[in-house]
């Protein structure tokens, strides 16, 4: 399941948030490479909520959880 979740997250980020020319690994910081900023994180949160039916409150969100494809996948798995 986790592999599928990871691929869906990667696809969403690649198709909707990232500059098409940027390539990134599952462990690379999406902040350092400029893929995510403070607005795009909210967009990603909406996707995760709608796609995986998970609940994410702004008061509980840990910004580090969104740093890499791996950490986002782990967050979703934890919340499901």
């Amino acid at each position: 399941m986790s592999t599928n979740v990871k691929q869906m997250i990667r696809n969403y980020i690649t198709d909707n948030l990232a500059n098409k020319e940027i390539e990134f690994s599952d462990t690379e910081s999406l902040y350092d490479n400029g893929v995510l900023d403070s607005l795009k994180i909210l967009q990603l949160v909406m996707f995760l909520q709608n796609e995986f039916q998970v609940s994410l409150s702004p008061t509980e969100m840990q910004i580090e959880d969104f740093e890499t494809i791996d950490s986002i996948t782990e967050l979703v798995s934890h919340l499901k």
């Binding site: 607005l39 967009q43 909406m46 008061t59 969100m61 910004i63």
Partner: protein, 378 residues
């Protein structure tokens, strides 16, 4: 109707309070600072600053829907923004973050005074190169013996010139972007902390705005709000409240504006008939009514969603965008209905128009709201 009978009663009480206490012509003659102080104290005595406070601090612990009802009632009673912008910033961007994230020490130290109106709060985020783009903060902090040292400048801080307490966001020195953003409570008079003079603005004249300066300002450890690195969460949480609910009194203002326009259009005659009977006037008033009712529904929807702990990222931006733009359009329409009378200060119509423009800028501009909305539906 979304409100209970009790909430409707509270809205009416708020309207009566605003009409009698906030529009007081004697107070309106006072100079700006004195006027602010008198009206602020009246808001505190009315219980406005106790609305969101839990009962353990002797607050009223009202839910967000009731608060929206009361704010709408206040707007229904005032001729223009009056003290309400500053009061709302104090509540939504000052008291709520402290109640949500503050330690017991923070709450015990500040909440009672904030409720009484003795402590005025400001929320400082914007900088020369950071606002909605919070990751670009240049104000920094570093750990020093016994606390933290803050350095940097914040701009466009509402309430800053009169405030006693400031919520300040800063990035840990040498940290990357968001990673080290934390929030702090800074008291007026702290060494190394200075408040600039009040900046003249287009509208919302009773709410002072200014810059604040941190020049090696050292604060104690207990003045960090929440945990280290939690600044983004606190900011997002604060914006979820501030962005839509700062406009709840504006819905009331739109209603009062419309009522006054109808009354004026019935009384003023041209060519031996009421100007209301001219279709260009009646159509304009119909458009104002449609915008008012749509704004009201959006406000209630987002309040109900928040009450039910739903995610309001999208709906709060939609509400903020629509209500603020409707407010500006209705205020412009009011000017057109009033004609020359609207252009002179006596009727407060031009004042309301000037005030309304700010709503498209504060808490994220209309452009930013459109960016958020479009990004979330793509």
């Amino acid at each position: 109707m979304v409100f209970s009978e009790e909430q409707i009663t509270k809205r009416l009480m708020a309207k009566e309070f605003a009409m009698q206490q906030l529009n007081d012509s004697e107070v309106l003659k006072l100079d700006k600072k004195e006027r602010f102080n008198v009206l602020w104290k009246r808001c505190a005595d009315f219980g406005l600053f106790s609305l969101a406070v839990p009962q353990e601090y002797d607050g009223m612990e009202e839910d967000i829907l009731s608060i929206v009802a009361i704010m709408e009632g206040l707007g229904m009673g005032v001729d223009a923004t009056n003290i309400l912008f500053s009061a709302n910033v104090h509540i939504f961007a000052g008291m709520l973050p402290i109640l949500e994230y503050g330690s017991k020490h923070n709450k015990d130290s500040f909440i009672p005074g904030m409720m009484e109106g003795d402590i005025i709060c400001a929320h400082a985020i914007s900088e020369e190169n950071a606002g909605s783009d919070i990751w670009s903060l240049e104000t920094t902090y570093e750990e020093v013996e016994g606390g933290y040292r803050l350095s940097g400048i914040k701009n466009y801080v509402t309430n800053a010139p009169y405030a006693d307490l400031y919520i300040v966001y800063a990035r840990k020195k040498e940290s990357k972007k968001f990673r080290g953003v934390s929030a702090f409570l800074v008291q007026k008079g702290t060494e190394g902390f200075e408040v600039g003079k009040s900046i003249d603005k287009m509208g919302i004249e009773l709410s002072p705005m200014g810059s604040i300066y941190f020049n090696d300002c050292v604060i104690s450890r207990e003045m960090m709000l929440g945990k280290e690195g939690q600044g983004m969460n606190i900011f997002n949480s604060t914006m979820e409240y501030e962005r839509p609910f700062l406009l709840s009194y504006q819905v009331g203002i739109m209603e009062r504006q419309l009522e006054r326009c109808i009354k004026f259009a019935k009384e003023r005659k041209q060519f031996k008939k009421r100007i209301l009977d001219f279709q260009s006037i009646s159509n304009r008033i119909a458009d104002m009514k449609v915008r008012l009712e749509a704004s009201r529904l959006l406000m209630y929807k987002v309040a109900e969603e928040k009450l039910n702990n739903q995610n309001i990222y999208l709906s709060s931006s939609i509400a903020k965008l629509y209500i603020s733009e409707s407010l500006v359009q209705n205020s412009m329409n009011a000017m057109e209905v009033y004609g020359a009378c609207g252009y002179i200060k006596e009727y407060h119509v031009e004042e309301a128009l000037r005030d309304s423009i700010g709503s498209k800028i504060y808490s994220g501009t209309s452009d930013i709201q459109r960016n958020i909305i479009s990004s979330m539906i793509e």
